[in-house]
């Protein structure tokens, strides 16, 4: 079985799995875990989108 995601799909998957682990290991209560997990996910994906736009303008 092979899986060939786009770059963005790979980013979304990576951000989701890493955020779940970070949330569980870095916070103690379920509510804090949920908030921290969402925070990590947004930072992962947001930084990739920001870097992508930066590279787009550098290329132009």
């Amino acid at each position: 079985m092979t899986f060939t995601p786009s770059h963005f799909t790979a980013v979304l998957l990576f951000a989701t799995f890493a955020s779940v682990v970070f949330a569980i290991t870095q916070r103690s209560t379920p509510r804090a875990m949920a908030k921290y997990g969402v925070y990590c996910w947004v930072l992962f994906v947001g930084s990739v989108v920001a870097a992508s736009w930066l590279m787009y303008f550098i290329r132009k």
Partner: protein
């Protein structure tokens, strides 16, 4: 003056103190099972195993020991963090020996990071086990 957070608490459960660390390294989430955090264990197992499996499905390079290349040795250390998943991948020759596709490069990172995240999860299980984290 030691703060309350720095004061080590009594062991949560009797027995071998490093059992959660070792079990958590061998099987993702198993250390949390030992400390009776069922949902955390399930989520960790799903996240780490899925990341490792998707990496292999992307034709990831699975690093071997003793290649002589320092970067390969670092990759091996990361891969080894996945515990039993790594040994299964090596025994059944899953993944690829070289990176030939763009997605294989992503997959290689998925496998290495899954191992590193499992190290973090195993240490967290150890902290729960010895009462350092609640």
């Amino acid at each position: 003056m030691a703060s309350k957070a720095q004061t080590p608490a009594a062991p949560a459960t009797p027995g071998f103190a490093y059992s959660a660390l070792i079990l958590g390294w061998l099987v993702p989430g198993a250390g949390h099972l030992l400390t009776r955090h069922w949902i955390r264990a399930l989520l960790l197992f799903l996240a780490i195993t899925a990341m490792f499996a998707l990496g292999l499905a992307m034709q990831a390079k699975v690093y071997a020991p003793n290649t002589g290349d320092p970067l390969d040795m670092l990759g091996f250390a990361g891969d080894l963090g996945a515990g039993v998943l790594y040994f299964v991948a090596r025994i059944f020759s899953l993944g690829a020996s070289t990176v030939q596709l763009v997605t294989a490069d992503y997959g290689t990172k998925f496998v290495v990071v899954a191992g590193l995240l499992n190290f973090v999860a195993a240490v967290d299980a150890h902290n729960l086990r010895i009462g350092r984290k609640l």
